[in-house]
C-alpha cells in the first residue's frame, strides 16, 4: 500500500466514522434525547457543504464554493444511486446533480436545525439518518476492503 493509499484510507475511515456517529446523534434527537456530540454534527455539516458545492458545480458549472476535491460529492452520489436509493432507479441512472444538490441542501438545513436545538421535520430527519447510515456503511465497507491483508503464496507477491 502506498503512502497515498494509506492517506486515502485514513480519510475513508474517518468519514465513515463521522457518518456513523452523526447518524447516532440524529437518532438520539428523534428519541427526544440531548445531543451529546455536537462536534460530529458540525463535521457532518462540513461534509454536506462540500458535497453540495460539488453538486452545484456539476449541475451548473458554478465553481464559486467548490473545494479542492469532489470526493464528498462522489460519495454522496454513490449513496443516492446505491441499494436502498433515496431516489428512484430511473432517476439514479440520470445522475441528476441538481436534484442531489437540492437533497443535500435540505439535509444540511435539517442537521443545522438539530444542532441549534430546533425542532426538525420528522420525515426530513429520518431521511438524514438513512443517508448518514448508508454513507457510513458504504465508506466503512470500502475501508475494510482496503485494510484487509490477503493470504497469498509469496511467489505471487514477487520475489525477495
Amino acid at each position: 500500500m502506498t503512502v497515498a493509499d494509506r492517506q486515502q484510507l485514513s480519510e475513508l475511515v474517518d468519514w465513515a466514522d463521522v457518518a456513523v456517529r452523526a447518524g447516532n446523534q440524529l437518532q438520539l434527537s428523534t428519541l427526544g434525547r440531548a445531543i451529546r456530540d455536537p462536534d460530529v454534527l458540525e463535521r457532518a455539516l462540513e461534509f454536506l457543504e462540500a458535497a453540495e458545492a460539488g453538486g452545484a458545480f456539476m449541475s451548473s458549472g458554478d465553481s464559486a464554493n467548490l473545494r479542492a476535491t469532489l470526493r464528498p460529492l462522489n460519495w454522496a452520489a454513490d449513496v443516492q444511486s446505491g441499494p436502498g436509493s433515496l431516489v428512484s432507479d430511473a432517476e439514479s441512472h440520470k445522475f441528476d446533480y441538481e436534484a442531489l444538490t437540492e437533497f443535500l441542501r435540505g439535509m444540511r438545513s435539517t442537521v443545522g436545525q438539530v444542532l441549534q436545538g430546533e425542532r426538525a421535520d420528522a420525515n426530513a430527519l429520518a431521511k438524514c439518518i438513512r443517508f448518514l447510515d448508508s454513507l457510513g456503511e458504504i465508506l466503512g465497507m470500502r475501508a475494510d476492503q482496503q485494510m484487509r491483508a490477503t493470504s497469498l503464496p509469496c511467489s505471487t507477491l514477487g520475489t525477495f
Binding site: T2, V3, A4, D5, R6, Q7, L9, S10, E11, V13, D14, A16, D17, V20, R21, G23, N24, Q27, L28, R33, R36, D39, R43, E46, G54, F57, M58, G61, S63, L66, R67, A68, T69, L70, R71, L73, N74, A77, D78, S81, H93, F95, Y97, D133, G136, E137, G140, A143, D144, M147
Partner: protein, 474 residues
C-alpha cells in the same frame, strides 16, 4: 444483531484496545533519537482512552438498538485497526532502526518548513520515501508527521537528500485549495467534450461525470504535487536533489505512464525535466548556465555563482563534475518517451495539459515558501569550497572554520554539506573504471559515513554554540 454476537463484538474491540495500549506502554520504554516518539505515544494513548469513553456512551445511548451499537462498535474497531500503522512506525523509529545521526537535522529542517508539527522519522521495508499525517480534523494526532525512509537505505546518506522532497508534501494544501476549483472547471469542460467525442463503452457509474472529473483532478494533483516537492527539494539542496532523485529512480522505468495501479505517479523523466527547467534553467553543462524562465532577471543565478565560487577557489574539477552530471541529465530529459506514454491515455493527456499550465505558478509558490524560511541552497554556496577541502582530508564536512576565531567555527548548512559530498562522490566515480565493485562499495560506505557524521556534527555544534551563548549571556 443478536445480543450474544454483540457481546462478542464488544469483547473483540475491548481486547484490541487493551492490546494496543499494552504495546504502547512497551514502546514508551524504548530508545528514540528524539522525544517526538514519546510525545506521539502520549497522544495516541489519549485517543485510545477517548475511544473507550465513546464505546461506553454508545452502549448506554442505544441499549435497545443493537444494530446501532454494532455499527458504532465496527466503526471504533476500524479506527483502531487504521491506527495500527502508528505502532509499526514507532517500532521502526527506535534509535537502532533509523539513521539516528541524521534525525536531529531532519527535525530541525522540518521545524523551519512546517512549524507547529512534530516529525517522527521511521524506516520501513518499502520501495520509496514517504510522509504521512493523520488527515482527521480536530485530532491531536494531526500535529504529527511520519517520515518514512526505506530501511534498506538506512545508511545511504546520499539518498536522504530526498527527505527535502517529502517535507514539501504537507505544505502544499494552500496551493491546491486555491487552484483546484479553476482546474476542475476546465477539466469538466474537456471531459464533457471527450465523452461527446469518444463515448466510453463501460456501463455507469464509470461514466459518471463527477467521478471522471475527480479522477482528472487526482491525476493533475498527483503529478503537480510530486513535481512541486521535487522543486522544493531542489530549492533547498540544489543539484544533489536532482542527483539523488536520478540515482533513486535508476531501478525503475523512467517512462512509466501515470496509471491507477501506480497511484498516477508522474514518470520520473517528466519530473527530471521540470526540475531541470525551473530550478536549474535547463542547464546542460556544455554551455553557460541558461537564462531564467522569466526573462528580465539579470542577477547571478545560484548555479552560476556555484561554478564561479568553485573556480575562484581552484576547484575546477568540481565544476567539471557538475557540467558532466547536468549533461547526463539533460540528455535524459531531451528524450520524449515519457510524453508519448502520457499522450496515449486521453484522460491523462487532459490532466497533464493542466499540469503544464499550473507549473509556473507552482514554481512561484515553492519559491515563496523557500524564501520565507531562508533554507535555500543559494545562500550557502560560499561554504562549499571549505567543505570540499575538508573532504580531501576525509574530515567530515560539518563545520565552517572561522579565521577570526581559531577555537570557534559554526555549523555548515545542510545544503552545502550535501553539495560538497555529492560533488566529491561523483568525482571519485569518474576514475572508478579500474576499481572492483567491492572497492567501489567500500568507498561509497565511507562517504556515507562522512556525510552522516557531518550532519551529526552540525547539530552537536549548534548545541554547543547555544550553550556557549547562554553561558556568555546569562
Amino acid at each position: 444483531m443478536e445480543q450474544e454476537l454483540l457481546s462478542r463484538l464488544r469483547t473483540l474491540v475491548a481486547f484490541e484496545l487493551e492490546s494496543y495500549e499494552g504495546r504502547l506502554r512497551s514502546l514508551s520504554s524504548s530508545q528514540y533519537p528524539s522525544d517526538v516518539a514519546l510525545r506521539l505515544i502520549q497522544h495516541i494513548a489519549a485517543e485510545i482512552r477517548a475511544q473507550r469513553t465513546e464505546i461506553d456512551q454508545l452502549v448506554r445511548d442505544f441499549r435497545d438498538d443493537p444494530e446501532r451499537v454494532a455499527r458504532g462498535l465496527s466503526s471504533q474497531h476500524r479506527l483502531l485497526i487504521n491506527r495500527l500503522a502508528y505502532l509499526s512506525s514507532l517500532e521502526n523509529a527506535q534509535t537502532e532502526a533509523v539513521p539516528w545521526s541524521l534525525v536531529p537535522s531532519i527535525e530541525r529542517l522540518a521545524s523551519v518548513l512546517i512549524p507547529n508539527k512534530h516529525l517522527l522519522s521511521t524506516c520501513t521495508y518499502s520501495l520509496n520515501y514517504g510522509i504521512r499525517w493523520y488527515p482527521v480534523a480536530r485530532s491531536a494526532l494531526q500535529s504529527f508527521l511520519l517520515l518514512e525512509l526505506p530501511a534498506i537505505h538506512r545508511t545511504n546518506a546520499f539518498l536522504h537528500v530526498l527527505v527535502g522532497h517529502e517535507l514539501f508534501h504537507p505544505i502544499l494544501n494552500d496551493f491546491f485549495e486555491q487552484h483546484a476549483p479553476t482546474v476542475m472547471a476546465r477539466l469538466r469542460g474537456s471531459i464533457q467534450d471527450l465523452l461527446a467525442r469518444h463515448p466510453p463503452r463501460q456501463p455507469l457509474p464509470e461514466r459518471r461525470l463527477d467521478k471522471l472529473v475527480e479522477l482528472g483532478r487526482a491525476i493533475w494533483q498527483r503529478a503537480l504535487e510530486e513535481v512541486m516537492c521535487d522543486l522544493g527539494c531542489a530549492a533547498i539542496f540544489g543539484p544533489p536533489a536532482l542527483f539523488a532523485s536520478l540515482a533513486f529512480a535508476l531501478g525503475s522505468d523512467f517512462d512509466e505512464p501515470p496509471s491507477p495501479a501506480g497511484q498516477f505517479y508522474p514518470p520520473p523523466r517528466f519530473r527530471f525535466r521540470q526540475v531541470l527547467r525551473f530550478a536549474f534553467h535547463d542547464w546542460g553543462g556544455d554551455q553557460d548556465v541558461g537564462g531564467p524562465v522569466e526573462a528580465g532577471d539579470d542577477a547571478e543565478k545560484p548555479l552560476e555563482k556555484l561554478c564561479r565560487v568553485l573556480n575562484e577557489k581552484q576547484f575546477e574539477w568540481a565544476v567539471d563534475v557538475l557540467r558532466k552530471q547536468f549533461g547526463i541529465i539533460k540528455k535524459e530529459v531531451t528524450k520524449d518517451t515519457d510524453l508519448r506514454a502520457i499522450h496515449k491515455e486521453p484522460l491523462v493527456e487532459i490532466a497533464y495539459g493542466e499540469v503544464s499550465q499550473s507549473l509556473p505558478s507552482a514554481w512561484d509558490y515553492v519559491q515563496e515558501k523557500i524564501d520565507a524560511t531562508g533554507v535555500a541552497w543559494a545562500v550557502a554556496i560560499d561554504e562549499i569550497p571549505q567543505l570540499l577541502s575538508k573532504l580531501e582530508m576525509l574530515v567530515p564536512p560539518g563545520e565552517i572554520s572561522l579565521e577570526s576565531d581559531p577555537l570557534g567555527g559554526r555549523s555548515a548548512s545542510l545544503s552545502a554539506i550535501a553539495i560538497a559530498m555529492w560533488v566529491h562522490h561523483l568525482r571519485d566515480e569518474i576514475p572508478a573504471a579500474g576499481l572492483s565493485l567491492d572497492d567501489l562499495l567500500k568507498d561509497y560506505h565511507r562517504e556515507c559515513r562522512l556525510m552522516l557524521k557531518a550532519f551529526e556534527d552540525v547539530e552537536l555544534r549548534r548545541e554547543y554554540d547555544s550553550r556557549r551563548m547562554n553561558r556568555d549571556n546569562p
